[in-house]
């Protein structure tokens, strides 16, 4: 599963999102995750081009269907559902 997480370095919600996503990955070790973290402060143009508005913003790039999740990912149920993790 290819994921991209847009964050603002040091922002509380972003820090939380990274932690929540890491926990999710750990829980689902049998799935292979490819995660890219982008700091919007450093790459604002890229984030803009990618359609990011608010942070944190998680994009599931593959496999299809693609999905977009905003928030600190504390609502793990919603995250799993959005990413298609059923187990």
């Amino acid at each position: 599963m290819k994921l991209r997480l847009y964050v603002v370095d040091g922002a509380p919600n972003s820090v939380l999102a990274i932690a929540n996503l890491a926990a999710l990955c750990k829980k689902n070790l049998r799935l292979s995750f490819k995660l890219e973290i982008i700091d919007v402060l450093k790459f604002p143009r890229r984030a803009l081009a990618d359609g990011v508005l608010v942070t944190p913003h998680l994009a599931k790039l593959s496999p299809a269907p693609v999905a977009r999740i905003v928030g600190n990912l504390s609502d793990s149920g919603s995250v799993r559902l959005a990413l298609g993790i059923t187990t």
Partner: protein, 588 residues
């Protein structure tokens, strides 16, 4: 500029919005590099106001701006703005950036988020364009997504700090109804920002009226109160309060009011740049009078604008042609421009904006507004009154000679101070009324006032002929004004009397002529008598002489006979047969 206090405050730098009326009301515009909150219900004009500020800054001062739209797509905004002459696509190349900041519905929400990322992106855009302005349009939509009052406040403060750090002149728009349900929603925002401008849209008599006021302006004075807002070709217009001083150049030039007799009644015509109000009931031919004025203006070669409400240009042209007023050649030559509008569909303010734009493009010297009273239908009366007087001032400021008609509901001159109360502003006031007598309606024209002119106090009858309106003298009989048939009868009677007098005179003349002839004849006869008598007298005297002669002859004869004296032959008409030859000579 300080308006309502004599004390000049150390006013903070301001950024002109380019919305003339607003800049006047706010004393120069929005607080520069500070934040202004625009709040109001849906359709109050928040987005237009905000975008117009960016457009004006870009066009007039080459300042770039960012527009962050939380509610509408960029495409929607562009489509809405296309109704104004802003030419956004051209500006978007270098001076205007739109961020579509709507969260797509398919985006999953999983926990709290914040705007730090968005602000980072906006900072990049700001640096790229060198933007000085930013608009957050519909921030309430974003705040709702945060689903947490604490988060809302946190993000608002984040925006405030970011704005201050980036020294942007900012406009934040937020929906806020008038109802109590909305009252507390953005209280904290009002405290936070430096300027609060509530915009309102209200329905009055089925017409929506827009209003704007400044509720708060930190560190600056401003004009309190609500100001009417309208939407014209260049966007929103805020009606500035009327200037206290009136500067109108006073002209002495006279222009024709349409036809000679009326000009005479007005002391030589209308003063150039003056306003004339024509009031009257429907059908008293106000439009005809206005049409005649417009035609006369065109014939003088002056550009003329004919604004009509609730009647199309074509029927007006046709109707006026029926009374000999020809608009067609002037429309063709371009001297005459006509504009017609329905009043009920739009607010009075919008009509004012439209007329203002027309005056700007047509640049007329003479103008007709027919009927101005129609704008009273466009929303509330109070608003219409303000618009009417501003319209007149606008026209007068432009030095245009204007002819305004207004329908009166009553027919009493005392209460004929029109609903719109423009009669006090107008320089000349002509009133048209019906006089009903003996089953007839006739039109009467009175000049109630005409500033700066000696004018007739006479009521005249207005007659519409195939060659235009004509004013006729009216007769007064027994304290009543006679018009129409009664006037005609009176005139006829007068004509009859004249004829009668003439006939009587003729008769008398003939009589005199006859009696003169008679006298002459008698004189002749007497002369004849005289001649005869003279002749007779002569005859008698000669006879007598003859007799005397003959008697002397006879004596001579006797003597001759008796004494045989020598005798000559007698004349033979005597008793003797000889006569002296000298006898006739002696008779003479």
């Amino acid at each position: 500029m300080i308006f309502n206090s004599g004390v000049k405050l150390q006013s903070l730098p301001k950024a002109a919005t380019g919305i003339e009326g607003f800049d006047a009301v706010s004393g120069g515009g929005l607080p520069r590099k500070r934040t202004t909150l625009l709040k109001g219900g849906p359709g109050a004009g928040k987005t237009v106001f905000a975008l117009q500020c960016l457009v004006n800054a870009a066009r007039k001062r080459r300042e770039a701006g960012l527009f962050v739209a939380f509610e509408e797509s960029t495409r929607q905004i562009l489509a809405n703005a296309a109704t104004f002459d802003w030419n956004l696509p051209a500006l978007m190349r270098r001076k205007l950036y739109f961020m579509d900041a709507r969260l797509a519905p398919e985006v999953v929400h999983a926990g709290a988020f914040d705007l730090s990322g968005m602000l980072a992106m906006l900072k990049a855009k700001k640096d790229e364009l060198g933007a000085g302005w930013i608009v957050f349009d519909g921030i309430d939509v974003l705040l709702t997504l945060l689903r947490d009052p604490a988060a809302e406040m946190r993000e608002i403060y984040r925006i405030r700090d970011w704005l201050a750090e980036n020294e942007l002149t900012a406009l934040i728009t937020a929906k806020a109804g008038d109802g109590p349900a909305h009252a507390g929603d953005y209280d904290f925002m009002e405290f936070m920002v430096d300027c609060v401008v509530p915009l309102a849209r209200r329905l009055e008599h089925g017409v929506s009226l827009h209003r704007l006021q400044i509720m708060k302006y930190r560190g600056s004075d401003f004009r309190a109160g609500e100001f009417p807002v309208s939407f014209g070709a260049s966007g929103m217009e805020v009606a500035p309060p009327e200037p206290a001083e009136i500067h109108h150049a006073a002209s002495r030039e006279r222009v024709s009011a349409g036809f000679e007799r009326l000009d005479t009644m007005l002391g030589g015509g209308l003063l150039r740049g003056s306003s004339t109000l024509v009031t009257g009931l429907p059908g008293t031919s106000k439009t005809t009078l206005a049409g005649k004025f417009a035609e006369a203006a065109c014939e003088r070669g002056e550009r003329t604008l004919f604004v009509s409400f609730d009647e199309g240009a074509e029927p007006i042209v046709r109707n006026l042609a029926s009374v000999g007023i020809q608009f067609k050649p002037h429309l063709k030559s371009g001297l005459l421009s006509m504009y017609s509008a329905r009043t009920e569909s739009t607010g009075a303010e919008d009509h004012l904006a439209k007329v203002k734009a027309l005056i700007g493009s047509v640049r007329p010297r003479c103008m007709v507004i027919d009927p101005l009273s129609a704008i009273a239908k466009a929303g509330g009366l109070v608003a219409a009154r303000a618009v009417a007087s501003r319209l007149i001032y606008l026209v007068k400021d432009a030095g245009i000679t204007v002819f305004i008609t207004a329908i009166n509901e009553g027919d009493d001159p005392a209460t004929e101070a029109t609903d719109l109360q423009v009669s006090t502003i107008a320089d000349t006031w002509i009133h048209l009324s019906y006089l009903i007598r003996s089953g007839e309606r006739n039109r009467a024209l009175t000049i109630i006032k005409s500033r700066g002119s000696a004018h007739s106090n006479q009521v005249r009858e207005l007659i519409l002929g195939a060659r235009g309106p004509v004013l006729a003298d009216v007769y007064t009989a027994g304290g009543e004004v006679l018009m129409g048939t009664l006037r005609w009868e009176k005139e006829d009677e007068e004509r009859g009397k004249t004829l009668q007098r003439r006939a009587a005179f003729e008769h008398k003349r003939r009589e005199l002529q006859v009696s003169e002839a008679d006298t002459r004849a008698r004189i002749k006869a007497l002369e004849n008598d005289l001649a005869r008598q003279r002749a007779e007298l002569e005859l008698y005297s000669s006879d007598n002489e003859a007799r005397i002669v003959s008697s002397s002859e006879r004596e001579k004869e006797l003597r001759r006979i008796r004494s045989a004296d020598p005798a000559r032959s007698s004349r033979g008409n005597g008793s003797g047969n000889g006569g002296a030859a000298k006898a006739p000579r002696d008779a003479r």
